[in-house]
């Protein structure tokens, strides 16, 4: 193996793949068989890059040659960059050797589209097949579904991969027309639909015949770029909800747009990556998936965007003060989950703890609840609680004063006397 050449390719093709934010290696149940190599489980982040993102899979493109010219993409046809392509065997060797050294949980393989969608998809499948059949590899494989790939190929891909994903990238159809004129919305949807139906079919069959083979056991995911086309948070979250509901997505990822082009349709080079916004979107995503919120409670036509200075749960609570204060010792779990400053872990602790005695501030503090936010919304076993009838703006002001956010500079529009 010519390590220098491999190193060169790896640098180019890892660099091009890094804008895909999906990194999860969990959710699959593939186990090691006949003393082979690898298994999957809850997922492990083996290291973290200097931008703080986890590295769990070897995330590379098969090639960055591409026939498309999507404005937001770094590998677009018209971009003047170094191009490279891996041979199938090279990807297999890299994956196996990294895996054996405990560097990674598996492979995340994507690709620029060369020749045609089907041709590209075939090559991706060939890598996965080789890993599974020749190397007896039971680690995690995440394949990209290439927009426009045929149903037959999507079916085959699911037999070898743990997860499949198509990146929708642009949340609105009008945005897609603007930035990726040669791609059609239907091309993204078709493979997604096929995989969804196959997963349902296989799950049904497994109920009858237990030994039914696995089909994409970790499900599907997708990704949207945030801040490239002037879309609102409402656009993004409603479209995310659509994918969760109608395509049984396991995850929707939000990727703050990193300026990589001088195209006038996009934010200029050097403009800031909207990381805070990205963070607020993920918080909202969690509220929808784990805290029992529905999307129209948080975002609607009157409130199309999330507040940057406070988290979405607090934002909701301030708009719905009529639900508060909540009695920690009596409230239902679903209401506990709606109190700002209380996460699901704390909800479980409260529910177990209050069986033994009525909880007071001291107990709550030790359990790790963020009282600086929660205290305006709860009463507990103590005569000391917020009696004043404060309005939303006052509470918000008091909470903001009590905390020191590292993002303060990004939303504080008060003029500063110095600097």
């Amino acid at each position: 193996m010519d390590f220098n050449r491999i190193k060169e390719k790896l640098n180019i093709l890892a660099d091009a793949a890094k804008y895909d934010v999906s990194c999860s290696s969990s959710g699959s149940n593939r186990k090691n068989k006949v003393n082979g190599l690898g298994d999957t489980g809850n997922g492990i982040c083996h290291t973290y890059t200097e931008d703080g993102r986890c590295v769990s899979l070897l995330k590379i493109l098969l090639t960055n040659h591409c026939i498309f010219d999507c404005a937001y993409c770094v590998t677009r046809k018209s971009n003047d960059i170094q191009r490279a392509a891996f041979k199938i065997q090279e990807v297999v060797d890299l994956t196996i050797n990294f895996y054996r050294r405990n560097y990674i949980e598996g492979l995340f393989l994507s690709s620029g589209i060369f020749k045609s969608a089907d041709h590209t998809m075939e090559r991706l499948i060939a890598v996965a097949k080789k890993l599974r059949e020749e190397e007896n590899f039971n680690g995690y494989i995440h394949l990209k579904s290439i927009p426009g790939a045929s149903d037959e190929l999507m079916y085959e891909a699911g037999l070898y991969a743990d997860r499949l994903s198509v990146n929708i990238e642009i949340p609105t159809i009008s945005g897609l027309k603007l930035l990726a004129p040669d791609k059609k919305h239907e091309d993204f949807i078709k493979p997604m639909l096929k995989v969804k139906n196959e997963i349902i079919r296989y799950t049904e069959e497994r109920k009858i015949i237990k030994s039914t083979a696995k089909y994409a056991p970790a499900g599907q995911s997708t990704q949207m770029i945030v801040g490239a086309t002037g879309e609102s948070d409402k656009d993004i979250m409603y479209s995310a909800t659509h994918f969760y509901k109608n395509y049984n997505m396991k995850r929707v990822y939000y990727s703050g747009y990193v300026p990589i082009s001088t195209d006038s349709r996009l934010p200029a080079l050097g403009s800031q990556v909207p990381m805070l916004r990205e963070n607020r979107l993920y918080q909202t995503d969690w509220l929808l998936r784990f805290y029992g919120f529905s999307v129209n409670e948080i975002l609607d036509t009157d409130n199309p965007n999330l507040d940057m200075d406070i988290d979405p749960k607090l934002m909701w609570a301030l708009r719905n003060l009529n639900y508060f204060p909540v009695d920690i010792n009596k409230a239902e779990p679903r209401m506990l989950a709606r109190i700002p400053g209380i996460g699901m872990g704390s909800v479980h602790k409260i529910i177990s703890g209050r069986k033994y005695r009525n909880l007071n501030w001291e107990h709550l503090k030790k359990m790790g609840i963020a009282l600086n936010r929660a205290k305006y919304f709860i009463i507990c076993n103590s005569s000391d609680w917020e009696r004043r009838d404060l309005d939303a703006a006052t509470i918000k002001g008091m909470i903001l004063q009590s905390q020191n956010s590292k993002f303060k500079g990004q939303y504080n529009n008060q003029l500063s006397l110095f600097n």
Partner: protein, 257 residues
């Protein structure tokens, strides 16, 4: 009946459970259980040496397990934390568990219970970190070798994970701090101790024990790590929070070139 007494055990988990058994047998309200060799007896305290008895240990283990499965895990994890005074904490925890009508293991309004949970949580996190941060290096006799230096004694906890995952390769994970390791010979995992002249961290100091290809792969991994970073999003605080510096010397991606 004594209210308080110092019990000295041999440092093993079974030894500790035996001590708990003796404590309950003698109805000690406060058992000061201590490891041999680290004994600090009080001025007037009575001391008794405990001889490990598997049967007695088993009875304590089963007794706790019948009460709660999560408690048994918490106790074992907290024990592996090797923290000062964890013996007394666990003793109190078991007392509470056995004395309580409900499953006392979930009383998060109790300081002792919360403390044990937090200790177990810390050990669990270290276990998970070791599953992530072990970096095998291939030796010339085809054994994948890794050094670790975990905060807590987590080798017993990670053995199964690595056995299941790397079933078709020989490997050694060696705890440099506690001077013992695990060796998998394609059949079973055994506990070994080695006479290591130097600690093999990464390609900073190359060793002849490893294959040449080994350093090529470390180099590739190091390169991959760099090229997958998005420069415009650098966030070193977050980076160090996830990968604390004390682990860096064993991570080939963090070696300075």
């Amino acid at each position: 009946m004594n209210a308080s007494k110092t019990l000295v055990y041999d440092g093993s988990f079974n030894g500790f459970l035996t001590a708990v058994f003796i404590g309950f047998e003698q109805k000690l309200t406060h058992a000061d259980i201590q490891k041999q060799g680290q004994l600090q007896s009080g001025l007037f305290a009575e001391t008794e040496t405990i001889f490990t008895n598997i049967e007695k240990a088993q009875r304590v283990w089963n007794g706790v397990r019948n009460k709660s499965n999560s408690a048994i895990k918490n106790i074992y994890f907290a024990f592996l934390s090797e923290q000062n005074n964890m013996e007394a904490l666990i003793y109190r925890y078991i007392q509470k568990l056995m004395g309580s009508k409900y499953n006392g293991a979930t009383d998060f309004s109790d300081d002792g219970v919360l403390k044990i949970n937090q200790l177990a949580h810390k050990v669990g996190r270290e276990k998970h970190r070791m599953e992530a941060f072990v970096r095998f290096q291939l030796t010339k006799d085809e054994v994948y070798f890794a050094n670790i230096e975990p905060d807590f004694d987590v080798l017993p906890l990670i053995s199964k994970h690595f056995r299941n995952r790397y079933a078709d390769q020989q490997w050694i994970i060696y705890d440099v701090k506690r001077k013992y390791g695990l060796f998998y010979d394609l059949n079973t995992v055994e506990i070994i101790s080695l006479d290591l002249s130097d600690i093999h961290t990464n390609s900073m100091q190359k060793s002849t024990a490893f294959t040449d290809v080994e350093y090529e792969y470390q180099d590739l991994w190091n390169n991959y790590f760099k090229s997958t970073t998005i420069k415009s999003r650098i966030n070193n605080k977050l980076h160090v929070q996830h990968v604390p510096k004390r682990y860096w010397k064993y991570l080939s991606e963090k070696k300075a070139v």
